[in-house]
């Protein structure tokens, strides 16, 4: 199984979207592609955990383009595709896909871009895939063609453009000083870059990645975009897109070996993001916007946790967050309403299964045992305590209280009797909710099963030496004498 297929198949499907849509009718094509990706990732995972696959397209290792299918990439592809299916299979998105082939193409390009981000071992390819994912995301945001969605799309595009300019600047300076863009090589050559240049590199790339991973204060556009794009797409962004950019942030920052001051800054930014995000959600009346703030906050917690040393826990939290947000956004999409919080009134009584799922997912999001959110949060808090101090723990817990206040408002509304709005669920549409429900409960009751996976994943992310060996081969460590050779 070649890792390149993860990118090639969605791309090919995108090009052939016209004819393929005739076979996979009713807008099921993106879902089918995600199912294929999930099956492929699932079948690759056991072998990848033992021996990561490094595939070089074009020439030999230092040159050429390499795709690195490590445990982290494959597991995250698996998770994001599974929870992406929930949303691409939702009525709201399938209607778009059915109506116009371009929207199908955009979704498939988005998946290709995301899988590309996970797999690329080369900074410029990462940029390209990031742009593919982002461009399609901008256009997808405007799916519903309302003023709000256009506004969201333009804002997304503007923010993304700033990010891409800074990313390009960073890449240029890196290339100027190291002559390579291969991440594995950069991990050994970065320390030799002059301090002044390194400052430019780090600040430019960090800025770009902070915009993409929605860290405060560079996430001012995020709630607008989510609100404009509607519930199903918000779910897709929150379950898939942000996971890819988080992975990118972790991969790049770890390999670059930045100073402790930058790490501290990232932890601080993560915590701040969490607090501000929860506060922003507190008095929100639009459910999509509320959950958008909540996604931002969770991303902040994950970033803080990862850089505080709770690597494995951060991955668990990523998986948990994908599951929870995919489920919650899907429920809002299923309700098929304006997205205002009040319109969720009484859906639990209309459909018990939906109500129970929403409640369980929310409890998991709050970090209550025995759901998966607890395992992640506990370990993250432990990491924060050992590397930052108890103050960070208290900060996160206070933020969680704020979170509880607004999320429980949602629970209260879901179970309220006097329903003001008429809507009907087709039970068949809700069946898919069983996926996040099972993950959240099973993973919470026996997190060891997931942690044994994420431990390897985290190790893949932080063990620079083995990454280098896997990509460049056993002997190929770049000596400083080679630094200026070859390309000049």
């Amino acid at each position: 199984m070649h890792p390149v297929l993860f990118i090639a198949v969605p791309l090919l499907a995108a090009f052939l979207a016209g004819p393929l849509s005739q076979i996979a009718r009713k807008g099921w094509l993106p879902s089918i592609i995600l199912v294929i990706a999930a099956i492929a990732a699932g079948s690759m995972l056991p072998s990848v955990l033992v021996q990561p696959i490094n595939e070089t397209v074009v020439i030999a290792a230092p040159l050429g383009i390499n795709l690195y299918a490590g445990p982290a990439a494959i597991l995250l592809i698996l998770v994001t595709s599974i929870f992406g299916i929930l949303l691409t299979g939702s009525k709201e998105l399938r209607d778009h896909f059915e109506k116009s082939t371009p929207s199908t193409v955009l979704a498939l390009l988005h998946f290709a871009g995301i899988f590309g981000i996970f797999l690329s071992g080369d900074l410029f390819n990462i940029f390209v895939f990031l742009e593919i994912a982002a461009l399609s995301a901008y256009a997808m945001t405007a799916f519903s063609d309302t003023t709000a969605s256009l506004e969201g799309a333009i804002k997304y595009l503007l923010a993304g453009s700033i990010a891409s300019i800074f990313l390009l600047i960073g890449i240029a300076v890196i290339y100027l000083h190291t002559g390579t863009l291969n991440l594995a090589e950069l991990s050994s050559t970065m320390p030799m870059v002059p301090a002044a240049a390194k400052a430019v590199i780090i600040s430019a790339i960090l800025l770009a990645l902070a915009i993409e991973t929605e860290l405060f204060p560079l996430n001012l556009w995020v709630p607008d975009v989510y609100e404009g794009s509607g519930s199903a797409l918000s779910g897709l962004f929150s379950a898939m897109t942000i996971k890819a950019t988080l992975y990118l942030l972790f991969r790049v920052i770890t390999l670059f070996g930045v100073d402790q001051s930058i790490i501290d800054l990232l932890i601080g930014a993560g915590l701040l993001t969490m607090i501000v995000g929860e506060l922003g959600a507190l008095r929100q009346t639009n459910a999509v916007r509320m959950l958008a703030y909540s996604s931002v906050a969770q991303a902040g917690l994950i970033v803080a946790g990862f850089f505080a040393g709770a690597h494995s826990a951060a991955i668990v939290a990523m998986i948990a967050h994908s599951a929870v947000k995919a489920g919650l956004f899907l429920i809002i999409a299923l309700a098929g309403l304006s997205g205002s919080v009040a319109s969720l009134t009484g859906i639990g009584l209309k459909n018990k299964f939906v109500g129970v799922t929403a409640t369980v997912l929310i409890l998991s999001l709050l970090g209550l045992p025995p759901f998966i959110g607890f395992a992640g949060k506990l370990l993250i808090l432990q990491g924060l305590n050992s590397s930052v101090g108890i103050g960070a723990v208290i900060l996160v817990l206070v933020a969680s209280l704020v979170e509880a206040w607004y999320l429980l408002k949602l629970v209260s509304l879901i179970w309220k009797t006097e329903s003001t709005v008429e809507f009907s669920f087709k039970p068949i549409h809700t069946v898919i909710l069983i996926l996040p429900l099972i993950l959240v409960i099973a993973g919470g009751v026996y997190p060891k099963a997931i942690l044994s996976l994420t431990d390897k994943v985290a190790n893949d992310l932080v063990d620079i030496q083995s990454y280098r060996t896997n990509v460049l081969g056993g002997s190929a460590t770049i000596e400083s004498t080679d630094l200026n050779g070859g390309t000049q």
């Binding site: 901008y138 804002k155 595009l157 453009s161 390009l168 404009g228």
Partner: protein, 118 residues
Amino acid sequence: MNLSLETVLPAFSLMLILLGLWGVATRKNLIKIFISLSIAETGVNLLYISMTGFVHGKVPILADPTVTSGYVDPLPHAMILTSIVIGTAVTALGLALTARYHERTGTLNVTKMKELKN
């Protein structure tokens, strides 16, 4: 002071980037913002060109296999080709969205795009 193209070009590209970013930060008109973004992108692209050493280098076509140095680095050229394409796509999409937005609301002012806020 020897003002060769090699020393001027990085400075010039930096100037273009800063000019573009300044435009993004100060202009209110969406079209002007896209123009500024394009300027900044052009600046970045020139930055890539400026580090290839194209003034003294040869065209990177391997005519004589024994000569392995003295060529212009071909990689940045390849990269900016990609980035130009992406930049064009982004600008095109942005302008398309802006046109549609203008159709609906009649405004191009970025500070007035406030249907979504708080």
